[in-house]
Amino acid sequence: MRKLIPFLFFLTFSICSKAEAQDMKYGKYSQTELELTKVDFEPDAGSVVLEENSFNQFLGAIQHSTIHRRIKILKESGLDAANVRISFYAGDGIQNISKLNAQTVSFENGIEKVTKLSKDDFFEVELDDNYKEVRFTFKDVKVGSIIEYSYLKTDKGITFLDNWVFHNPMPTLKSSYTIEVPSFLNYRFLAQGEKTQKCDYRTSYDGTYRWTVTNLSAIKSEPMMANYQDYLEKIGFQLAGYAFSNLQTYGGTSGFKQTYTSWQELTESISEFELFVHYLKPNAGEKSQILTFVPKGDTETQKAKDIYNHVKEKYSYNGEFGPFPSKNLRAMLESRKGQRADINLTLLAFLKSNGLMAYPMLISSKGNGSSQLVDTPFIDQFNQLIVYTKVDDKEYFLDATNPERPFGYLPLNQHVAYGYIMKEKDSGLIPISLPHRSGIVQMVNTKLDENNQLISESTVRFSDYDALTKMNGSTVDEVDTLKKYILGPSPENLLEFGVTEKTDPRKQLEAKFKYAFTDFDAETAFISPFSYTRWSENPFQSEFRTFPVDFLYTFSDNYTSIIEVPKGYEVDDYPEDANITIPGGTAIFTYQVSQWEGQIKITTSLNLKYPLVSPTVYSELKYFMELVTTKLKEPVVLKKTANP
């Protein structure tokens, strides 16, 4: 990403900084800060950010960020806040950290004790890919200590300014971001989060903007919520224009150049990126290498599928991702290994070289921190590159990084509403439609066999994303692994188990298994109608919820169980019918029992209409899930009438 940044020439102007009177001063503490022992809105917090400020200005074409953070340790559990890591991109000297100050302030018997860190206490760690970290730990820290540090971060990459996240892993009382934009630069910004969006960011100084957010809870993940980062309060900036001068031309030229005023302009800029060019337009050598693979099929769809299968099987994914390629097409064709953008752009090159319509598409996957895209050409929103194709008049969204993923399916964290399509014209955001009919169909038949043994035969069919998640990278040859996934580690009295798989036209996994009821001769017999359920226990244990529950995809389950009443027995009792829904109708569960001579039939369905469930109906969802999980375990009761 940083490598994409073009080198810009700027006019330089003198800059007048305006100190903000209301900001904290290093080493000066308010009485409120000294007396604080508990955070009102998060009383269990072990530490709290009392205040943090990022003050940003430009000296020439370099962003100078002065960052000052003050934390109070409230409990022993908060002592880890005294270990600090500051990451920065050091490649080509683009970013640097300097002017580090850090001190601990404690009060012993009312006397202030200040312990400062010296230069030797700051360590620089070299990470991979030209990233570095400054690491340090505060000394003499105890409960009640205030620790604070400040540093200067310089950044030569000013096309996209680093996001400022107002949230912290601990509660934050006040977080401010101030930026002085000089007259030779123009930025557009992207605010995320309710509080950030509501900020009155204008100040009395021309070109100075300030966002202040207060009283933020700590960031904590919750079960079934992979993307809590999408709900962070944060602000980001992208260069919208700059003043320029060129003294080398006769008489010199100067003016103001707007950047990325439209999605199309952004597309053109990205398309000229050196690593990108050949994927979009392979040269003759690359094209002839690509065309050594001849896709099978008579229709566009068949050819596209064959190409997709070729790329996903022959090119291996190195686990890394980003919105832009890390290597060019030639290198990919040779090494056959790369990150997500490399592989998907290779797929694109194959599709286009075979005359099929295909475009790169940038998305913000779940957890990237951009829950809703803004419809302005703001590239920092995106973190993944996939491929859009339209074959035989039907749209598909493709990601060829996983050999187990069939054509037309995307990883679950890529199930997002919109993507940015990069076309020759009409680039922009388009909806991502991923039609599927995920769900589980179960058919159970329980009856006496010829040896008078009560046998239950089940067929469980997983479709679309349920098949993919259940297989979890396993193949049908790995029967034991799949058995474990489906029936748990040690299924009892299992007589037979087999699985089959279907990929076309839909991904389906079908498990057939049979088990026996041992010593079936009781006066009263309790028979569970279903041997498999989506959840064996309620996945929600917590009483409250902060973030939405993300089931990742919608599904529709249908289970049917028919029990043929053995001779000498009669149906004595069975579960009651049920029809349950959560407010808003997002999830519906039905349970019906019908009975006729010699048989009892239980039919249930569970439908999830939207994958995201609001935390406002969490308590209803929890109770709903409790009912569903217990209901599916309820038995049919048979009673002996006479010896058979």
Binding site: L79, V125, D128, T137, Q541, T630, E634
Partner: protein, 612 residues
């Protein structure tokens, strides 16, 4: 990838020896390796290493097999590196990489905030396959203490055509070795004062990453060794202990003004355990675990006085400080070393070797030995938990050292759990409950951490998951932690709601005789004393259709007793007693089977019939 970091992973041949049937699963290989390693121990204790490798890579999954790492720190120097990558398709040289081209990055892990060590890294990428990679590398270590392990096979899914290692050492310094899973006898040549050992292997089996087996290796250990001018012998554990005793010598000296504080802290203590406990709690409360590894390979502890000033340290620093505090009050203790964590690496009494990653403290009292885990900040003194239990530790004495086994905690006092619930069953199938649980030993550990580190919501979540079964919502609770000497104790009182208690049919309510299922993590030590008392009152008129009465089960690894009673006013009481004793030396699979068997056998239901 360091040869030392290779995990032992399994050979994948599946052989059915029936006399008739023989079949072998073919493990795919992504690279073919030929290599020669040379290790030369010099009379000045420096170690020169040279490796010559040829790797043919046919599959992109084998690209990482050409990755190389050379450590660059105070002890290690990379002398030279040259990699030549040649296309196997047309014999053209694609790239050459030298030492100066290698990326230098810091050595980082999950434990240390910072360590001085760096490494130079070569990664192969962006080349057309198939390729041949020829590597020649040279490195020099200033110490022979860390001679490590030679692995002929470096990666799973790698075919090794030839691998050899030649080790030469001066006889006055000596060398020992131990061979594992390698069918090769070394040749030995004596050249004056120098001995040369050589292992040669060919056509080794391709290893499968998904299966566990011993990885072929030759473990090397010096006799005499030196580290930063400190010399000793490793021929005996005593010799190795002597080396460490020199490293820690004087480090535990406590400044005079702090000694006064120490005396004040323990002035009212009645016995040595109480003194230890007071000082241990002081350490837990006032010092943070922060690992910053500076100095000779991070092996030298800091001075206790420095730890006192910064109020933080890693295991060596905190152990040294604790040792110094105990010495101040007249209690002798020994700095000890162990390989801590989930993986236990047994120490061979006859093959002394530096194989430790953690320091802790041994405190011999009159009738017992306590082990103090100085990095833990919530457990009672003398309870060192899972991290170091049941393994050999090297105890460092003033002038040497010896091996001693840490406790395995296979006593019921360390593995007891008692639950008591009063349940009020409501008309609609839901319920309310109140109760209490007491935990002793390992089952209590989580509650110390809960109290210390988690917030109210997280505690409730934990209790909802671990007190009783599904559908429980804890409303109010109290967690109290304490100890009976080294045994941690936790008691929890709670009340709340139960959503959908048991199973309901048109005519019946069915519920289990116990709420807590036995999970594998409750049996880390193989031992458990589990008791559960349940009282159930129902709003709805019911009668018992089927109960349990004085059921007793005695199996090889567990005994179980359950009884239920119903009073005249319809209150049901259920008593469960379960004692589990699974042998220590049992496979994971067999243990899982026993647990499954226990859960099946103790699964009993009480069936109530709803009255009209």
């Amino acid at each position: 990838m360091s040869i030392l970091s290779l995990r032992a992973i399994a050979v994948s041949a599946l052989i059915f020896i029936s006399g008739i049937c023989f079949s072998q699963e073919v493990v795919p290989h992504y690279s073919v390796l030929e290599k020669e390693d040379f290790i030369t121990l010099n009379p000045d204790y420096t170690v020169y290493q040279k490796s010559i490798l040829t790797i043919q890579i046919w599959d992109s999954k084998g690209l990482s097999h050409a990755n190389r790492v050379l450590y660059v720190d105070k002890l290690n120097k990379a002398i030279s590196f040259e990699a030549t990558v040649t296309s196997l398709a047309n014999n053209k040289v694609l790239k050459k990489v030298k030492l100066k081209d290698m990326e230098e990055v810091s050595v980082i892990d999950d434990v240390a905030l910072y360590q001085e060590d760096k490494k130079k890294v070569f990664r192969l990428d962006g080349v057309p396959l198939p390729v041949k990679v020829e590597i020649v590398e040279e490195a020099l270590s200033t110490s022979n203490m860390f001679m490590g392990v030679w692995y002929p096979i470096e990666y799973p899914n790698q075919k090794v055509n030839k691998a050899s290692v030649e080790i030469s050492y001066p006889n006055e310094l000596g060398m020992r070795y131990r061979v594992e899973a390698l069918d090769s006898i070394p040749t030995q040549v004596n050249n004056g004062n120098i001995t040369i050992l050589k292992w040669q292997t060919e056509n080794l089996p391709v290893l499968d990453a998904s299966k566990e087996t011993d990885w072929p290796n030759v473990q090397l250990a010096p006799n005499k060794f030196s580290l930063e001018g400190v010399t000793s012998t490793m021929e005996s554990w005593d010799g190795l202990g002597k080396f460490y005793s020199q490293l820690i010598d004087q480090k535990d000296e406590i400044p005079e003004d702090f000694k006064k504080e120490i005396f004040e802290m323990v002035q009212n203590a009645e016995d040595d355990y109480e003194k230890i406990s007071i000082l241990y709690q002081y350490l837990q409360k006032n010092y943070r675990y922060v690992a910053i590894f500076l100095g000779i390979g991070g092996w030298e502890p800091r001075y206790a006085s420095d730890v006192i000033n910064t109020k933080y340290g890693e295991c060596k620093a905190l152990t040294t400080l604790m040792k110094g505090m105990l010495k101040t009050v007249g209690i002798e203790s020994q700095y000890s070393l162990v390989f801590a964590g989930d993986v236990i690496r047994p120490l061979d009494p006859d093959f002394p070797i530096k194989n430790f990653n953690h320091a802790f403290l041994r405190v011999p009292l009159k009738d017992e030995v306590l082990w103090l885990e100085c990095t833990n900040n919530y457990l009672p003194a003398g309870f060192s938990g899972n991290f170091t239990k049941d393994r050999d530790a090297l105890v460092i004495t003033e002038n040497g050292g010896f091996l001693e086994r840490t406790p395995d905690y296979r006593e019921f006092k360390f593995n007891t759990l008692k639950n008591s619930y009063d349940i009020q069953l409501l008309e609609n199938g839901d319920g309310t409950f109140k109760g209490s649980s007491s935990f002793q030993g390992f089952p209590a550990m989580d509650f110390f951490a809960l109290n210390k580190f988690l917030d109210d919501n997280q505690r409730k979540n934990y209790l909802n998951r671990n007190i009783g079964g599904s559908g429980i919502i804890i409303k109010d609770y109290q967690i109290q932690t304490g100890n009976q000497r080294e045994v941690p104790i936790a008691t929890v009182t709670f009340d709340g709601n139960i959503q959908r208690f048991g199973q309901q049919t048109t005519k019946r309510i069915i519920f289990p005789t116990h709420l807590k299922k036995i999970e594998a993590d409750m049996l880390d030590n193989g031992l458990l004393n589990f008791q559960e008392e349940i009282t159930i009152k129902s709003d709805r008129k019911t009668e018992i259709e089927s109960g349990v009465s004085n059921i007793e089960i005695k199996e090889e690894h567990f005994s179980y007793f359950v009884d239920s009673q119903i009073s005249e006013d319809g209150i049901i009481t259920i008593s469960n007693r379960l004692e589990i004793n699974i042998p220590k030396e049992i496979s994971k699979d067999d243990k899982a089977k026993i647990i499954a068997q226990i859960n099946t056998q103790i699964q009993k239901n009480i069936i109530l019939k709803k009255s009209e």
